[in-house]
């Protein structure tokens, strides 16, 4: 699973794009407990008083097949849909499962999230395009089904002899929960576990919650489940696997939290933190938290950002001049812009694409130089070729394409 998570993410993303989903795989891992792997796993619990669906996935075509597949198993009505959180890949296909008496349960902050997505629809589409290479955009419908039952801390209900205990905790979002079905030792944990380094510092998204994340996962561990269904990727089964995998998530998040807090108290800058903080070897080699989606540097940046403001501590940047103005001054002092391009070529030949980009930006910001823009496109593409992180690779790819379009 871990070694090819980048491939898996790519495959899933392409499926979402092509609407070309293979047959639905409704996996029954324990009597009456199911999940369907997808871009956003969908959980299904069948009781003799009705069906509970946990998350609805991003792709409606896929969801329709899941619905039909449920109907092959049972005639029971869909009584509840539970949102583990309000991210698009968990809520987009809800309408497919809605029947006359279906209640939708979600944390009280989900409604505010949906309103935010509606308010910021163009912005969200733009950043979605960048993060997922424009492959998930068409699937996202922005026709949210708001929760009909909401809760602050937790919510419990029984159905067909099973009791569902829904427990709120912040983590990837402020509206997250996990669902514990005690009698059967099953937990559906949403994105508290995703077979990758926790995505706690997404470059394009708002603040996330590293401390509450590990505290909630500790809460999951205390319940000693025998099965944990994650929001993405395969089922966790058996005491050893669950203990090890979840503990790795706890340890890496606690590590990031404690390091960032320590260095903030020391007055150390973000730049220095990124240089000094190294993941302990045991966590580096864990197959459960490979850095193909979330990664350590994102996590440090996100956590740092959570506890600080927009001002970086350098008074120059309190009320800064525009980037173009600064660049113009520098160009004026350098006098000959060819010197910059030559230096960039030299750096690029040495493989130092990143430093070259900073210099090219002077020309682009200062005098909208076409040659610099062209070279930037090439260098950004080169960065995308070797980047093994799904998110940063997609950002580079997408922007390299855009830079080519401009020319």
């Amino acid at each position: 699973m871990s070694s090819n998570i980048l491939n898996l993410l790519d495959t899933q993303m392409n499926q979402v794009k092509d609407n070309n989903i293979q047959e639905v795989e409704l996996i029954e891992f324990k009597d009456n407990f199911y999940y369907v792997p997808g871009f956003g796993n969908v959980g299904v619990v069948i009781t003799d008083e009705g069906v509970v669906v946990i998350d609805t996935g991003i792709n409606k075509e896929h969801a329709k097949k899941i619905y039909n597949r449920i109907r092959e198993e049972t005639d029971q009505p869909i009584r509840y849909i539970i949102y583990t959180h309000g991210h698009m890949d968990h809520v987009n296909s809800t309408d497919v499962f809605m029947e006359e008496k279906t209640e939708v349960i979600g944390h009280e902050n989900i409604a505010e999230r949906f309103r935010k997505y509606e308010d910021l629809i163009q912005h969200r589409k733009r950043i979605g395009t960048i993060q997922f290479e424009n492959k998930t955009s068409a699937a996202k419908s922005y026709d949210f089904v708001y929760p009909t039952i909401t809760f602050s801390k937790n919510y419990e209900f029984s159905l067909g002899g099973k009791s569902f205990d829904i427990v709120h905790g912040k983590g990837e979002t402020d509206d997250h929960c996990f669902i514990h079905i005690k009698e059967d030792d099953v937990i559906y944990c949403g994105d508290f576990f995703i077979w990758a380094f926790p995505n706690i510092g997404n470059p394009l998204k708002e603040i996330r919650f590293e401390r509450e994340w590990y505290e909630t996962v500790e809460g999951i561990l205390k319940k000693k489940p025998s099965y944990v269904v994650p929001g993405h990727g395969a089922l966790l089964e058996g005491e050893n696997v669950i203990q090890t995998s979840l503990q790795d998530v706890v340890d890496c998040l606690r590590f990031v939290h404690e390091k960032v807090v320590y260095y903030l108290n020391q007055g150390v800058s973000l730049e220095e933190m990124l240089e000094r903080i190294e993941l302990p070897e045991r966590l580096q080699s864990s197959e459960y938290i490979t850095q193909k989606y979330g990664c350590l540097s994102f996590a440090i940046k996100g956590t740092y950002r959570r506890y600080t403001g927009w001002f970086d501590g350098n008074p120059t940047n309190l009320n800064p001049s525009k980037g173009s103005e600064v660049a113009k001054e520098v160009l004026y002092l350098i006098e000959d812009s060819n010197k910059i391009l030559e230096r960039c070529m030299e750096l690029a030949t040495k493989g130092d694409f990143q430093l070259a980009l900073h210099l090219l930006d002077l020309l682009i910001l200062g005098e909208k130089d076409q040659k610099a823009l062209e070279m930037k496109g090439i260098l950004v593409e080169k960065l995308s070729d070797t980047d093994e992180n799904f998110i940063s690779r997609n950002i580079y790819r997408q922007l390299a394409m855009k830079l080519k379009e401009i020319q």
């Binding site: 603040i207 240089e275 540097s297 403001g309 001002f311 008074p315 009320n319 980037g323 001054e329």
Partner: protein, 407 residues
């Protein structure tokens, strides 16, 4: 209210005397204006105190005044939110047996302050030009005994205390309505300056919800409004002017930032494009000496975005020192940079000059000493000519740090 009054308020805190004003607002209601106002409600079943100000000594003075007007014990202390200037004196009241009531998120905030105590001394020293470390005010907190999520109601001596949660300056804010007497305690939903919804060094704040709470406060039609900072409002025309002003200002910021995010505009462009309409600019209650429009835009932009600014160069940037070395090498002559910085200063382009001297400082150049001297000089100039309290302090504090470094 003005910078001078704010400074005076900080000085009173520093002098730390028990001599506090204790104004009778109406029967049973008293008020101490301080750095962090304190409200007092006397009933014949006990006293309710709203907030406890920053200074313990001042809180002791307030307790003495309370004892001079009633024999009733202080039963409850309500936190309008968890900022230190509202919870600092709490132990004075809990020692008398008072129970603390607050929003649930106050707990997390106090945990955070303790964990990040040194960091908060550092940023507050910059913001207030005051060293709070001497008073150890960041690590002796009284935690709430009773917490709530959305609303909390209790009766005491024939008065109803209706606590309503909302987000604004913080995520743990509460207003208190006593319907029998038409009194509302607003905490920092009302202060005497442009709402501080994007503090340079602090975490995320909430413009949208701030505007919503203004609507709720207006719907309560209070005869007496007691804010977290600044004088009591009893005049209905004044009430309208303040509350409508705050509501409009927050709605204006929210709508404009959302609009330009959807348009794909950069933060830099937004700062240039968004201009406060004249009726808000001229509203005496929205003067920008504490919070200001620029901070509000940056804060609101930050709330809805990630740490990445959209330029692929800045996704995994090179260290600033390395970039600066490259630029200084391309310019070739550090004294040329210093000359240009000086020339910018004579053209009153001080902020731009800061960017230039930073290249020398960050690259650790030969002229670093001169560059630092120049930077301190520019910062002092900016501080002296600055009308915003926080910017003024941040510039002055940075200038002083550089001088200490050079000495």
């Amino acid at each position: 209210m003005s910078i001078a009054k704010l400074e005076q308020s900080m000085n009173t805190f520093k002098q730390g005397t028990k001599e506090v004003p204790f104004e009778k607002v109406k029967d049973d209601y008293y008020f101490t204006p301080a750095f962090g106002n304190v409200g007092i409600v006397v009933t014949d079943e006990g006293v309710v105190v709203v907030d406890s100000t920053l200074s313990k000594i001042q809180a002791e003075g307030i307790l003495e005044k309370i004892k001079s007007v009633t024999e009733q014990p202080v039963k409850y202390l309500i936190y309008t939110h968890g900022h230190v200037d509202h919870v600092g004196g709490a132990s004075v009241f809990t020692n008398e047996g008072a129970k603390i009531i607050a929003h649930r998120n106050v707990i997390n905030r106090l945990d955070k302050y303790q964990e990040l105590d040194k960091f908060h001394y550092l940023i507050n020293k910059r913001q207030f030009a005051t060293n709070f470390e001497e008073t150890r005010s960041m690590n002796e907190f009284e935690y709430p005994d009773i917490v709530f999520d959305q609303e909390y109601v209790f009766q005491l001596g024939g008065k109803t205390f209706h606590l309503i949660h909302g987000k604004g300056e913080t995520d743990d804010h509460t207003i208190i309505h006593v319907p029998e007497d038409d009194v509302v305690f607003t905490g920092d939903f009302l202060v005497r300056s442009f709402p501080n919804v994007g503090n340079p060094a602090k975490d995320i704040r909430y413009a949208k919800e701030w505007a919503i709470m203004m609507g709720k406060i207006r719907d309560l039609h209070p005869k007496i409004t007691i804010p977290g900072h600044g004088p009591v409002i009893t005049d209905s025309a004044e009430f309208d002017k303040v509350t409508i002003g705050f509501q409009d200002a927050m709605t204006f910021v929210q709508e404009n930032v959302v609009h330009y995010l959807n348009e794909g505009k950069s933060l830099e462009d937004m700062i240039e494009l968004i201009k406060l309409p004249s009726h808000l600019k001229e509203n005496p209650y929205l003067q920008q000496f504490y919070g200001c429009l620029d901070f509000a835009i940056r804060g609101t932009y930050r709330r809805y975005t990630g740490w990445y600014d959209g330029n692929p160069t800045n996704l995994l940037p090179e260290k600033q020192s390395v970039i600066s070395q490259e630029i200084v090498a391309l310019i070739g002559d550090e004294s040329k940079i210093l000359e240009q910085a000086q020339s910018l200063m004579t053209q009153k382009r001080q902020r731009l000059a800061l960017h230039l001297v930073d290249y020398i400082i960050q690259s650790n150049g030969k002229e670093k000493h001169e560059a630092l001297k120049l930077k301190a000089e520019v910062l002092l100039y900016l501080s002296e000519n600055e009308e915003n309290f926080m910017r003024k302090n941040i510039y002055a504090n940075a200038a002083e740090e550089i001088k200490n470094q050079l000495a």
